[in-house]
Symmetry: C2
Subunit: 355 residues, 2 copies
């Protein structure tokens, strides 16, 4: 029997609540498989920082490295809580994990869900959205390079250096082509290569070169500004988008917004070489305003768990979870979800998996 050791980082606010449901669903999905999950909980996030003053220690990182995957909830303090310095949890913990565990592929699928109305008139059940963004996760403008000179004076200069390497771009583009090949065989490179000519040259040249190994995948290029127009006017045209860290950040907020499913968006931060565990997390935040009320929607965490199953080679279990979620969302689209608690929602997915 296959045993996977999963690190669980519930985090802050609704994070632990939705992750608990994801675990229930994982266990139900695994029942028919000869595989088993063991879970170890890690206390990390804003609350943890408030009590310990630590965001992510070397010891914790070391311990996390021993796991097969990380199931993540959400982190972040109440924005009104001025004790937590702005951005520190995001940078030191979230980005700390991505960079230290070499999560080069930040995978963010976007699709239409039953009962979820898109804010776009052109998106409906007959014209659904279904694409994935493969966002680079370990370099680009996120590298943290840059500086401030003469801070606070009239002569102040601030720089930010986007760092892009052939090594870093190629592995992400290869991953994106591989995913496109398994989907609708259409890849779109998004960049701004008419202005950012150095990095744009590297991205465009790399994509052109990698494309040769994927002759059955057609690919096109789109400027990031134009990509936002297409997302609004014809999001159905996208299958797989590959892009850099910052453009990917922007497009993967726009993408779930146009599907109407920001609350449902799942993501995976993948170490493609398998040298460290990959991480699976809902895109939504810790939502301190509804924390502790048992009303958070665990669907995004459950869908993130499905991405984890898929990543661990348990594709059939992943497919079962996705099917259960789709079926249950359809049901709820008819019945409504008013009054349903977080765990009742999780139980409903479990019931579908067990039936």
């Amino acid at each position: 029997e296959n045993t996977f050791e999963i690190a669980v980082i519930g985090g802050d606010g609704i994070g632990p609540e939705v992750v608990a449901e994801a675990r229930k669903v994982l266990d139900a999905a695994l029942a028919p498989e000869s595989a088993e999950f063991t879970y170890i909980e890690y206390s990390l996030g804003a609350e943890h920082w408030l009590t310990t003053g630590e965001t992510l220690t070397e010891e914790t990182l070391q311990a996390l490295r021993g796991h097969d995957a990380i199931l993540f909830g959400a982190v972040g303090a109440d924005p009104l809580d001025t004790r937590v310095p702005s951005g520190i949890i995001e940078r030191e913990l979230l980005l700390g994990l991505r960079f230290n565990l070499d999560h080069c592929v930040n995978l963010r699928p976007t699709r239409s869900y039953p009962g979820v109305v898109s804010p776009l008139r052109g998106v409906d059940e007959e014209h659904p959205i279904d694409f994935v963004v493969v966002r680079e996760g370990t370099e680009g403008p996120y590298a943290g390079n840059g500086g401030l000179l003469r801070r606070g004076t009239d002569a102040e200069i601030a720089t930010e250096v986007s760092v892009n390497t052939a090594y870093g771009v190629r592995r992400v583009v290869e991953d994106a082509f591989t995913r496109a090949q398994a989907r609708d065989k259409h890849l779109t490179l998004v960049h701004k290569n008419n202005v950012l000519t150095y990095s744009g040259d590297l991205w465009t040249r790399t994509t052109t070169a990698v494309a040769k190994s994927f002759p059955d995948v057609r690919w096109d290029y789109m400027h990031v500004d134009a990509a936002t127009i297409h997302m609004v006017n014809n999001p159905q045209r996208f299958d797989v988008i590959v892009t850099d860290n910052l453009f990917g950040d922007i497009l993967t907020d726009l993408a779930p917004a146009i599907s109407g499913g920001i609350g449902l968006a799942a993501s995976a931060s993948i170490n493609t070489a398998g040298t460290a565990p990959s991480m699976f997390e809902p895109v939504h935040g810790s939502a301190p305003d509804i924390a502790g009320k048992a009303i958070a929607d665990p669907t995004a965490a459950v869908l993130s768990a499905a991405l984890m199953l898929d990543h661990l080679g348990l594709g059939e279990a992943a497919a079962r979870v996705e099917a259960a979620v789709l079926a249950q969302l359809s049901q709820w689209a008819q019945d409504g979800t008013s009054g349903l608690s977080t765990s009742q929602r999780g139980d409903a997915f479990v019931a579908r998996l067990s039936s």
Copy 2:
């Protein structure tokens, strides 16, 4: 009598066609004023490059500097025309003008227009959009700083340096606050200061400082990724957005997309110190596919001309043009525009101004 010398750069494709209508409308709008425009045409763009090999010479720049304003059409070759190196006209001519003429404020208003259906379900005549983006135009990631090391090898590195100065940020933020004060007194700073900490610090600090001189303007901060969500879910919340060159580029394609009016979007590239002429251009491109057919819509060029009137201190004439456009668009929303030529549309605006 006040005479303004206007440089006219029609450019490529439909550019000269729509600019011709803008001129007609300008002259009609000026009739009641003690002001007059003289026009000098400059041949610039992809066609010009093909015949001369020049994008923007020092002589042309010098001549342009002598004008009170520049009325611009559109530039760019047919994308299928492989004779024109990709990006050269955009960089050397468009960005060349912005940087050389110190167009620090790139102003892009977005609003709902009668008869123009937004792709968003939440935007309609009862819930219209009306905001402006003040995009920085002369620094940031557009500075052209960066480089490629070991090009074409596995060890290649490409960098892009975003350059931000107190000088450059402050003048744009001041301009944005001034505009907010004259509108709904609400300014939103858009950045990504949790990740781009150096430039984010400069932008946030500058905005906080400038805000003190505008106590009647309330302001808030939004990450660029979150801004895309708000644009889709609640664009009515925005009044004035101030942001950097690259974020502004992205948001000002998204903005007209959500209003439904990409074809109607106007823009101004403003030298706030008055040391060189400002430039007024429609956001749409040269549309080579419909060039020469006399079917291009001149509305965006006409609205850009209205921005020029306003900039030149001819606010009443500007208001008349805007009112004429709105009235005529309402009319067309009922009658339809099928079969109307470019000049018939221009004539309709002129008729409204003259009646």
